[in-house]
Amino acid sequence: MSELVLNVVSVSKTFSARRGAVEAVKNVSLEVNAGESVGLVGESGCGKSTLARLVTRLERVDTGDIYLCGERISHLAGSSLRRAYHNVKMIFQDPRSSFDPRLTIGASIREALRASTGMTGRALAAESVRLLCEVGLDAGYDKVYPRQISGGECQRAAIARAIGARPRLLICDEATSALDVSVQAQIMDLLRTLRRQHDMAFLFISHDLALVSSFCNRTYVMRSGEIVEHGPTADIITHPQHPYTQKLIGSILTP
């Protein structure tokens, strides 16, 4: 049996709001094997982003456990937590808002690198340029600011920053939703190349089932905080079992 990079076990998360509690994630279990690409689909508000935020510890779980590379991380704290988290990185829908507007792209990447690898000086500078080249940006991008480049270029830079830590798992939260189809295809090409070159697993969150089917072996369908269906992506597309999955597939506007 292959090693589990991510194991989410019966996790729940409730937010308290003025109009009462919102159960964002209800008893969700999910597994990602090493080197595997797993899709997570559902519409906005279904809890898929909350789940990603629980895995990356931007939020804490109420109940349940999260294991990252075999280590139970849902209750870690301090330096052991920071160390465990070098194994998972995340890219977001709006890459520009994930960069400090007053730092150059290069400075942002170096800051993340310093924190995750402890590199300094010339090695650090060389590595940041190498990462930029790896995602298809030339060394000139080192000195530009986020506002000076396009959304697609900014997403490439965000990917460069994420892979600098050599994570075992990359979470993509609607990472191409804000991009044009042609730019989206370029980013998907890049992710596919990185997947081949690094031993990296993906949790690919999207509302676009067609896109997920081109990238993920297995897919989980989420609705109102619950996983309603999961299995090989091809099976889910061709033989959806749950009525919600059928509705989701029925509403794909295919050209």
Binding site: S44, A185, T254, P255
Partner: protein, 321 residues
């Protein structure tokens, strides 16, 4: 200029005040009750085209060209007449429905103000008409919606309200800028159905700007493909989508993710700013580029009926879709 359709755009060239060109020689004709979709990547000028048609006050210089609505040249009309046409003759729906609404004002008030700006009407009558309109657009709970503020509505509901609001003055044509991009897939499908129902119900023509090929395939009668500020291919949807002629159109079709798991194929390279100085805007990225491309003049090549392209190198360049 010739009066052909309900809305005629003739040889439109638009620049920013600093001289940066955005649109070049764009011509487009929309007939009554027709649905035309404009596709292309961000920055290709498709939103600018809508803003220019609406004569939105702001940072655009129309350098050349004419926009005729019912044969009337909008550029020659007094400002006040154009303002009156905006809304009543030419309606508008935006990508972010909430952004065009005051978040703390009730939907009913939005309808009343919109209607009152164009003709004298009592609040009671405006609300009655608004309720009827929401019903005709199959919005549940019309009265509750009129009583809500935009912040209390979901994205889908807001977009449907925005469509109803645009229809309140019964425009002959509705311009929609990425009307589904901010919405979920299931809601997207619903909005598309609703926009199409407008034509059946009110005979409204639609000019829809989108980069969602699914939206195009579901609703368009005709498609205009834009690249680098120019329309590079135009024609009936079936012709353009099943037999794309321009290399860019073909690349765009190949970039669409398909549910059968075929990976989308990326268009190599990125847009350059030099596009307007080239005879062909796609020259730097085109897989079929040859020496003649740098010298020949970009002219419409008729293909079949109304289907034309600026270049037909992509026509036989790939497998049939």
């Amino acid at each position: 200029m010739e009066h052909i359709g309900l809305l005629d755009v003739h040889h439109l060239t638009v620049e920013y005040p600093d001289g940066e060109r955005i649109l070049q020689d764009v011509s487009l004709h929309i007939h009554e009750g027709e649905i035309v979709c404009v596709i292309g990547e961000s920055g290709c000028g498709k939103s600018t085209l809508l803003n220019a048609i609406l004569q939105m006050p702001g940072q655009l210089d129309i350098v050349e060209g004419e926009i005729l609505f019912h044969g009337q040249n909008l550029r020659a009309l007094p400002r006040e007449d154009v303002r009156r046409l905006r809304g009543s003759g030419i309606g508008m729906v935006f990508q972010e429905p909430g952004a065009s609404m005051d978040p703390i004002r009730r939907i009913g008030s939005l309808f009343y103000e919109t209607m009152r700006a164009h003709s004298p009407i009592s609040r009671r009558e405006a609300l009655r008409q608004a309720e009827e309109l929401l019903r005709r657009l199959h919005l549940q709970d019309a009265r509750r919606i009129l009583d809500s503020c935009p912040v209390e509505l979901s994205g889908g509901q807001k977009q449907r309200v925005a469509i109803a609001l645009a229809m309140a003055l019964r425009p002959d044509i509705l311009l929609a800028d990425e009307p589904t991009s901010a919405l979920d897939v299931t809601v997207q499908a619903q909005i598309v159905e609703e926009l199409m129902a407008l034509r059946d119900e009110f005979g409204t023509a639609l000019l829809v700007v989108t980069h969602n090929m699914g939206v195009v395939s579901r609703m368009a009668d005709k498609v205009a493909v834009m690249y680098g500020g120019r329309i590079v291919e135009y024609g009936y949807r079936k012709d353009v989508m099943t037999a794309p002629a321009h290399p860019y159109t073909r690349a765009l079709m190949d970039a669409i993710p398909r549910p059968d798991g075929t990976p989308p194929k990326a268009v190599p390279g990125a847009r350059t700013k030099k596009e307007f100085s080239y005879p062909c805007p796609f020259l730097d990225r085109c897989p079929y580029v040859h020496t003649e491309c740098r010298t020949r003049k970009a002219e419409k090549i008729p293909i079949h009926g109304e289907h034309w392209t600026l270049c037909d190198a992509g026509f036989n360049g790939g497998a049939a879709l």
